[in-house]
Amino acid sequence: MADGPADPNDPFEGFNRVMFRGTVAVDKAIFRPTALVYRKVIPQPIRDSVRNFLNNLDSPIIFTNDVLQGEMKRAGITLARATLNSTIGVGGLIDVADKWGLPRHREDFGQTLAVYGVGEGPYLFVPLIGPANPRDLVGYGVDFVFNPFTYVQWGNEYYVPYARFGLDFLDLRERNIETLDEIEKTSLDYYASVRSLYRQTRNNEINNGATTVEDLPDF
């Protein structure tokens, strides 16, 4: 995993940097200020409930990918969490399962592909989505199509899925205001830092949080 002068895993770096620059500019002009307003207007307990509710809607996808990866125990936890939170947790607004020792974990089809041995492919920075690679993009698409909540709507209107997506994005951005500020502040090359963080974090998720020492460089 040598990050040489030209990162071998980032053959489209020139293009990616342009996309990154554009996304950062849009974020500074629109998303970050909007997230600040959201934080100011909506009290934290309500924001937390929103987050819990949205997380609960991801349960079908997490459960399915747990199963696809042969992680039956984790699948059981996901199922138990969805059941507890949807009922006692008032439709997912309260994460009671977490308080009872069933913390949340994430899974997605990109991780499932990785567990099946599919390589990540070249790094890509996708405008407004962020750091990605072909494997994870395919994963997002599959998860999107297979999540039943993608198709929830009232009448002929598509407000519900749009609202869900928009709120999810806004809430995430609000939760990461300080994080992103900090990363930018402590980076000399913001683009390269984000790239490295994305890769390491994804690998950690794929390994379900286990520290893998075999791949460490020698120094």
Partner: protein
């Protein structure tokens, strides 16, 4: 990547030996959701990790590396919680403590990647000095955000005789439920045989590895000139210390050049 894992709440593959807790300054973690946001989150944690510290001793540890981490956790904890100390003095002590735990030159050389070989000795020396200051400045900015988090050694994994990764859990007293954040310390031997920390991992993100990406990315964009990197590090360090809101103007200028 075919390994199938069974761990549910947390993988208990490591021996739970010592149970020392220690304070670690850390920012409250956000909820990881979108992968890239999660990545960013992780980075924050990294920065926070520079603040950690280390330990000391008491229950017998499973191996010397664990004992070393434990001992220094307690040492750091003591500095952080010594109410009789002025902020000034606390900073100074923490700085000294942090620098004594590690080998800035060794890590700094690593973060230069292939550029370490082509740079002149003067450039490298200046970079190492700037790098140490930068690292210290990052942790100093976090010191003020310390909220009583504690850290406990949970076990270790050995890569080689002198290469051991010590695992710890970060306990946040303010958080209810949830899994503890995981932090790991890579312990190696200095030239004189003493143990040193060469890298720190927070939730899967290694600090030195990330800095290497950051620095080599910068160097690639600046014709491989290590002196440019040093200048930028010094400027960044100053901004961190002045508490100003640095990055905006500067980094957009930087990105435009890229």
């Amino acid at each position: 990547m075919a390994a199938v894992k069974i761990g549910p709440f947390k993988d208990k593959e490591f021996t739970m030996s010592s149970r020392r807790t220690i304070a670690i300054p850390m920012v409250k973690p956000a909820v990881p959701a979108a992968p890239w946001i999660a990545a960013l989150l992780a980075a924050l944690l990294i920065a926070a990790s520079m603040l950690f510290s280390a330990p000391v001793r008491a229950a017998p540890a499973a191996n010397p590396a664990e004992a070393f981490v434990q001992e220094n956790i307690e040492k750091g904890y003591k500095i952080l919680n010594d109410t009789g100390m002025s902020d000034e003095k606390r900073r100074a002590q923490f700085r000294e403590f942090m620098l004594s735990l590690t080998d800035s030159r060794r890590i700094g050389m690593f973060t230069l990647g292939p550029y370490a070989n082509s740079a002149s000795k003067q450039d490298v020396d200046a970079f190492i000095a700037a790098f140490s200051e930068f690292a210290v400045a990052i942790y100093e900015t976090r010191l003020s955000k310390y909220k009583g988090q504690t850290l406990k050694v949970t076990g270790s994994q050995q890569r080689a005789a002198d290469d051991i990764v010590v695992n710890t859990d970060v306990i946040n007293p303010a958080a209810s439920g949830g899994q503890p954040i995981k932090a790991a310390f890579r312990v190696r031997k200095a030239a004189d045989g003493h143990p040193i920390v060469t890298d720190i991992e927070i939730e899967g993100v290694w600090l030195a590895l990330s800095q290497r990406s950051d620095f080599t990315g910068f160097l690639q964009q600046h014709g491989g000139r290590v002196s440019d990197l040093t200048t930028d590090l010094q400027r960044q360090t100053q901004l961190l210390r002045s508490g100003g809101k640095p990055a905006e103007n500067k980094s957009s200028g930087r990105i435009l050049r890229a």
